[in-house]
């Protein structure tokens, strides 16, 4: 095992990685921008180095500055967390070229999965089901309309290099498609530096279910169960749970097997997530994309499997065996729910940065909180609005929901507006509680 790790990230995920590093006796080096100097992860790291001003381009996205910190502090490995440079193959190559251990899959695997068009084609070739869609970039709005006539409406317009729901929109007809195409192209260029667009058949009443995989150092790929991420606003996840209440045992085993094939097709190493859309009525699923990194919602998998995913990432990157028996099937124990606590108003979900004057986290049986802030810290407008991930684990889904309700009521955040009232509403919503919901749930809650 390497003796030290640079964490090229911030907030709750930096703190999460520090926790496992310390437990394993690996020295944790953090970096921070001027906006983040007061956050808990900075003081909890063994060493913390200022990386630059608040703007991400001059701090957490500055690959040269990060490598310089690694050199100066003698860090032996780099963990990218999620977001920022986590799925940047160029950064992964630069880390490896600098003689450091990259905690993630090979740069080639990142490249293959980072381009959603290539990834779709590759998955189809590996026998993983994909939705009807384009197999090469769509040149312009006319070409998009022509392609949609073949695929059939509604269609989803997406940036090939995209993520986080940015630039994505569904179109019901040709006029809406032309508008969606232009918006997607502008955002794709701005946020992802590539104007390439793909179209896919849109499933309006689908569940978003993903499979956690681990590519082991010996070349095997194993699946660690699924997560249901169908509670979304603006195509971004707000709450996740495992096991999915909306899939049969048969569909689950098909999805897990397909996810393993997906990982094997790219020689995947480390933690990754195969995202799928499930049409609950027909009991079928299609590949959506693969995230080549640790997922935000990884804690629910940890709660039901008892496996520390960050520890497995460290072990695999060091070329060592994982801490559990990968030849025995990993079965979930109980049920876990994650609620993403965002700095946003709970009705329209608009961002609400500001100074935090009071912060009190809930605790109790089955409750886990991964947070990035504390009283006296400030939520700035420069980064994503995630304040904390509140997770509840129970023997059954009902117990997990009951524990989550109590925990939401006990979570005190004063200063920025938060979506905690939304989570209270969600946990009392009949459709959510029944388990029979899909990605349109929040839209229906807000129409009422």
């Amino acid at each position: 095992m390497f003796d030290s790790v640079l964490i090229a990230n911030r907030g709750e995920i930096a703190r999460r990685i520090i926790r496992t590093a310390r437990r394993m006796g690996v020295r944790a080096v953090a970096v921070y921008s001027d906006a983040d100097e007061g956050l808990p992860y900075v003081s909890e790291a063994d060493e913390a180095v200022r990386i630059g001003p608040a703007a991400p381009a001059q701090s957490y996205l500055d690959a040269a500055a990060l490598l310089e910190v690694a050199r100066k502090t003698g860090a032996a490995a780099v963990h990218p967390g999620y977001g920022f440079l986590a799925e940047n193959a160029g950064f992964a190559r630069a880390v490896i070229d600098a003689g450091l251990v990259w905690i993630g899959p090979s740069p080639d695997a990142i490249d293959q999965m980072g381009d959603k068009i290539r990834a779709r084609n590759l998955m189809a070739a590996a026998g993983v089901p994909v939705a009807p869609g384009t197999t090469e970039p769509v040149a312009d709005a006319d070409a998009a309309v022509a392609a949609a006539d073949e695929i059939g409406y509604p269609v989803m317009v997406k940036a090939a290099a995209g993520g986080g729901g940015i630039g994505m929109s569904a179109a019901l007809d040709a006029d809406a498609l032309r508008k969606a195409f232009e918006t997607a192209r502008t955002r794709a260029e701005r946020f992802f530096g590539s104007p390439e667009i793909l179209l896919e058949r849109y499933l309006p009443r689908a569940r978003h279910v993903e499979v956690q995989i681990l590519g082991l150092a010996d070349g095997r790929v194993v699946a660690l169960g699924e997560r249901d991420c169908s509670v979304q606003r603006r195509h971004q996840k707000v709450a996740e749970e495992t096991p999915s209440p909306g899939i049969s045992a048969e569909l689950r085993s098909q999805m897990l097997a397909a996810a393993v094939r997906a990982g094997e097709a790219v020689g995947y190493l480390g933690a990754g997530t195969v995202e799928c859309l499930v049409d609950a009525e027909s009991g079928t699923f299609v590949f959506l994309e693969m995230n080549t990194r640790l997922q935000v919602e990884h804690p629910v998998t940890e709660l039901v499997t008892g496996i520390d995913l960050v520890e497995q990432q460290f072990l695999i990157a060091a070329g060592e065996p994982v801490s559990f028996d990968p030849s025995a099937p990993v079965l979930p124990r109980g049920h876990a729910i994650e609620l993403r606590v965002y700095a946003e108003d709970p009705k329209r979900f608009l961002p609400s940065p500001g100074a935090i004057t009071a912060w009190q986290e809930p605790s109790g049986p089955g409750v886990r909180v991964d947070s990035g802030y504390a009283a006296g810290t400030t939520v700035t407008p420069f980064y994503d609005p995630l304040l904390a991930k509140l997770c509840a684990h129970g023997a059954t889904r009902d117990e997990a929901i009951a524990r989550a309700r109590l925990a939401v009521a006990d979570f005190v955040v004063t200063g920025p507006k938060t979506n905690l009232p939304f989570h209270a509403e969600l946990l009392g919503n009949a459709e959510f509680v029944s388990g029979d919901y899909d990605t349109g749930l929040i839209g229906r809650m807000r129409q009422a």
């Binding site: 986080g164 940015i166 603006r234 700095a343 946003e344 608009l350 961002p351 609400s352 940065p353 500001g354 700035t380 407008p381 420069f382 980064y383 994503d384 609005p385």
Partner: protein, 70 residues
């Protein structure tokens, strides 16, 4: 006379109108960006942009004046 104010701390990403422009109710005046989200700021009545208080790249505070429409 209508005042258009920022609802939250944000960066001014795009300014789509100039002083003296006529705008209709619902037109986008500026696009703010906060926490990786684009927030279009719309005219809430028709009229002329009499004063513009922000430029692209500015940071606005909550409740800060963005534009006046008369």
């Amino acid at each position: 006379m209508a005042e258009v104010r920022a609802e939250m701390v944000a960066n001014v990403w795009k300014v789509l109108v100039s002083e003296g422009d006529h705008v209709d109710d619902g037109d986008t005046l500026v696009i703010l960006e906060s926490m990786k989200m684009e927030i279009p700021i719309l005219a809430e009545e028709s009229g002329t942009v009499t004063k513009l208080h922000v430029a692209e790249g500015d940071v606005v505070q909550e409740d800060e004046l963005i534009a006046e429409i008369g």
